[in-house]
């Protein structure tokens, strides 16, 4: 009885927490949009098109964060063999693919008016495209086998090995001659931008990070429900086999 009440309470608390996180994400994204599109001044060189950076940079940051979570959760799964770590890694990989795709598309929308081309085989762009392919492969591998422990093991190996590309993407602008600009905010000697522009970028980074947290809670709930549905559907078959 007490356990049932505790479970019900836990469920209610987590759902209300999820709703609160959703509202916080929506408000933060709204504030970020106003700061990015209205308050921040246009760039003296690039003009209005520089505003794309307020969505492109946070999307790229979340791609890094998502795949870092996949990396940590994959190590934790291989160490503990607990399903919850595999669920965390799968959820974060799916969200990471969304944000990597978004970062690439937003970069293309910025590149056309500034560089004069939608795409070029620049080291940053190429390594980011490779990153996207690695995590699409990660999600594809998860669909190959129905055996949950084999699926989790294979995915965890890709989640760990695939993460090698993240520092390569980040440092590509330092290691090779690149058309893509170098670090602007997190660099030795302090940020290259200041005032309202820096504020708009930092608020956008915070808003996207809250959105990531919300999407993770939602995606984890979906993962639990889908696993339960699969388990329930298979349980009479398992009984019949016995």
């Amino acid at each position: 009885m007490a356990a049932t009440a505790e479970r019900a309470l836990g469920k209610a608390t987590s759902r209300s927490g999820e709703h609160l996180l959703g509202i916080a994400a929506l408000v933060a994204l709204g504030v970020s949009a106003v700061l990015s599109l209205v308050v921040a001044p246009p760039d003296s060189v690039q003009g209005e098109v520089q505003r794309i950076m307020y969505v492109h940079v946070p999307a790229a940051w979340l791609a890094y964060l998502s795949f870092f979570v996949v990396f940590i959760a994959s190590i934790a799964y291989l160490k503990t063999r607990r399903t919850r770590w595999d669920r965390v890694a799968a959820a974060s990989a799916e969200i990471g693919v969304l944000f990597t795709s978004l970062a690439i598309v937003l970069g293309m929308l910025w590149g056309k008016p500034v560089w004069g081309t939608w795409w070029t085989w620049d080291p940053r762009l190429t390594t980011t495209a490779v990153l996207l392919l690695i995590y699409i492969a990660y999600l594809a591998i998860r669909r190959i086998t129905d055996n949950p422990s084999r699926r989790a093991r294979w995915a965890a190996v890709i989640g760990i090995v695939g993460f090698i590309d993240v520092p390569i993407v980040h440092l590509s602008v330092v290691w090779w001659r690149s058309l893509h600009q170098g670090p602007t905010v997190f660099r030795l000697g302090g940020p290259e931008i200041g005032g309202t522009m820096l504020l708009a970028l930092l608020v956008a980074l915070a808003a996207f990070t809250i959105t990531y947290a919300y999407l993770m809670t939602l995606r984890l709930r979906v993962g639990r429900l889908e696993e339960r549905a699969a388990r329930e559907a298979l349980s009479p078959l398992v009984g019949a086999e016995r």
Partner: protein, 47 residues
Amino acid sequence: MAPNAGYVIAAFLVTALALGGYTLRLFARARLAKRRVQTIADRRRDG
């Protein structure tokens, strides 16, 4: 309209559609999984 404003509008629209679309897709997946669990439970109860 400022030069290149179309690219900015497109970028913010793409972001809103991607985030909104993915959130709605997750809601739909949750609803579908819940319905599946409920259908199996109903079938079991009906024998």
